[in-house]
Every structure is written in C-alpha cells, then in structure tokens.
Symmetry: C2
Subunit: 202 residues, 2 copies
C-alpha cells in the first residue's frame, strides 16, 4: 500500500510524532487466507527494529505454522534483530512448569491461562509486539470476555503493539482496534478439490 | 484456518498426492493491509521447507519492506532453510550489470525488465517460490499484458509456486489463479490522522 497522507488531522493535542508512535491494536479477521500469515509478516518488521516479540498461539495443532515458528526462532536467535518468544497452547504453555494430567485442563481452561499470561506480560511490558494468533476464537466461543480484552488493551502501559487474528472477531474488538483487515476468500484450492500441501499450508 | 476437506473431488485423473503437489498461483489483492505481508509470511513456510525463494519487488521505494527484506536475507543466509534472492526494481534490478544513466529507463521499462527475468527464471526453474510483489500494478497500468502473464504461468515447468500482490489485480489473473484473497480495509489508523510508524509500516 502506498504511504499516504492521513485523511484527517485529529484535534487530540498530540504532535504528529506522538501520534505516530501510538501503540496499535491490529485485527486480522475474515474467512480468507492470510490472517496469521500477515501477522507473522508484521513480526518480521518488528524483529528488524530489534523489538522483543511474543507469539501466543491460541490453537491446538501439530504441524500448522511450523514454518513461521522455525523462521522466527532462527531470527530471534540470530542476534541481528529482536528476540522471539513462542508460546503454544497445544504444548501446555511454556510458563506452566508442572504438566497437568491428561484431561485435567479443558481447551477453555488453557485459553484462559494464555490470556492471563498475556495480561501479566502487558502489565510488565515484556514485549513490544504481541501476536495473539487465533485469539478471536476463544472470544467468539464465549471463553474469554471481549469486553475484558478491550479494557486490558485500552489500559496497557507504554508502547506495546498487539495483533489479534482469527475468524469472527467480536464487534467490541473491531470497534476498539486501530487497524482491522478483513481477509475475504475469493477463491481457494480446496474449492477445486485440492488438499493442503507442505510449504504452502504449513 | 482449520485444515478442511476439499468440497469437491475433481474428475481430473490425478491422485490426491499429485493434486496436492500441484504448483499454485496465489493472488493477494484488495485495498486493505496485509497483501505483501502475507506473501512474505508464506515465504517463511517455503524457507522452512528448504525451497529456493525469489522475491521481485515491482515498486520503487526506499524504506518499504526493509524489515521483511532483512529478515528473509538473514534466514536465507542462515544455512538452516531455503535460499533467498531479493531483487528490487528501485535499485535497477540486480541482474543488470551496467547501471543505466539517469532517466535512461522509465519505470515501465524497468517493470518489463523484471518480468523478462521472471520469465527466464521460470523457464530455468530457478526458484520454487516466487514473490512478485506489487506486480498487479504494472499489469493494471497496461505496462505488462495480463494475458501474457497468464500464458507464461500456465506453461511454467515443474513445481513452481507464484504469489502476486497488489491492488487491482486484473480479472484474467484472478480467473486463472488457484488462490485469491481480497484484503478489505475495515479500519486503518490513517483514517484517524495517524501516519505510518517504524516497525509497523516498514
């Protein structure tokens, strides 16, 4: 997208520089491809700025996004940009020391555990970019209250950018977010009977 | 997006595996954010598979996408995944040895030079993933014939995946592509008087 001029200059008492460096909330929603992929692409820019990045994957999956995960881990360990912490719900979240017994925690419990950690990290300003991947789902399913999410995001300290992906992002979040992109499906290979392939879908 | 079952099983005489490994053409179009970002996110998966990747940036810009460029170059040089060649129109294309005098080549000439190289690389199967970034524009502007692009893509040998980004992708290309995502703008910070910021827009 070409670099444009703002269409409105707001009467908010901020200088252009203050406004420019405002922390942002992004939402990538819609039924098309590219929601998470674009979020990880955004992480490349953050990495290039030397920012600490925290990825929280709110989805249980064995092979999905392993490409992005490996790439961002190699980048984070390269010493040439920012750091990358990659937290996966599917592996029981890295900050939970004791592995709960099988069936002890539901996916709803795990999603809430993830959100509690995001809240702690936001309070401590652990990261400069948060990728809350597929986080729209636990909100859509009623596991996590979107009103609370908006309230926490509204009151987060410092300059912390947050990207939330997933279909069916709740309206309260869309209303609050600074940037919302709806990825619409125009055409997908599965429509033509094609299954996902390595290197493309994961 | 959850891994789904194909909605149709085509009568094309191919096995599921053959169909699965079919080379794909992706188009990311629309006026919203995330078209290029998602293309570079896709490159992370390709890198993770060890694929050679060629990026062709069909746009003249000093600072845009420097984050993605630096990140993909570090990955390409890491020895842990695929290689990355990054070609920029704005720097006069890397394969052109002699720098033309100022004003010697128009942007239209340069865009055509880029496309000629893409054609040579496709014929030689140089890469397994091509990111033709902002390539929709020279087609939209009438500099490069979309019919020719479709014809070249249709006849490309081997298994070479191609991602084309940019607003106003021509209809012939959309009709031909395997996967088309339209990134729609729901809300953008520039609407609220905010300019682009480092780490976010570039």
């Amino acid at each position: 997208m070409p670099q444009g001029q703002p269409s409105v200059v707001p009467d908010d008492g901020l200088t252009t520089r203050q406004r420019r460096n405002r922390p942002l909330v992004f939402v990538h929603t819609g039924i098309g491809k590219g929601k998470s992929t674009a979020a990880f692409g955004l992480a490349l820019r953050a990495w290039n700025q030397g920012w600490p990045i925290g990825v929280f994957q709110f989805v249980k999956s064995a092979k999905w996004k392993v490409g992005e995960e490996n790439a961002l881990k190699v980048l984070g360990a390269s010493g040439e940009g920012g750091t990358v912490d990659w937290h996966k719900m599917g592996e029981g979240w890295s900050w939970i020391q004791r592995a709960p017994a099988e069936g002890e925690l539901t996916n709803e419990d795990k999603a809430r555990e993830g959100w509690e950690q995001v809240k702690r990290d936001l309070a401590q300003e652990t990261y400069k970019l948060y990728v809350l991947d597929e986080f729209a789902y636990p909100m859509h399913w009623g596991w996590i209250d979107p009103e609370e999410v908006v309230e926490v995001l509204r009151n987060r300290p410092g300059t912390q950018h947050v990207v939330i992906t997933g279909r069916n992002a709740p309206q309260q979040l869309i209303d609050f977010a600074d940037l919302v992109t709806d990825m619409s499906k125009v055409k997908h290979p599965m429509d033509a009977g094609q299954k996902g392939q390595r290197g493309i879908e994961w």
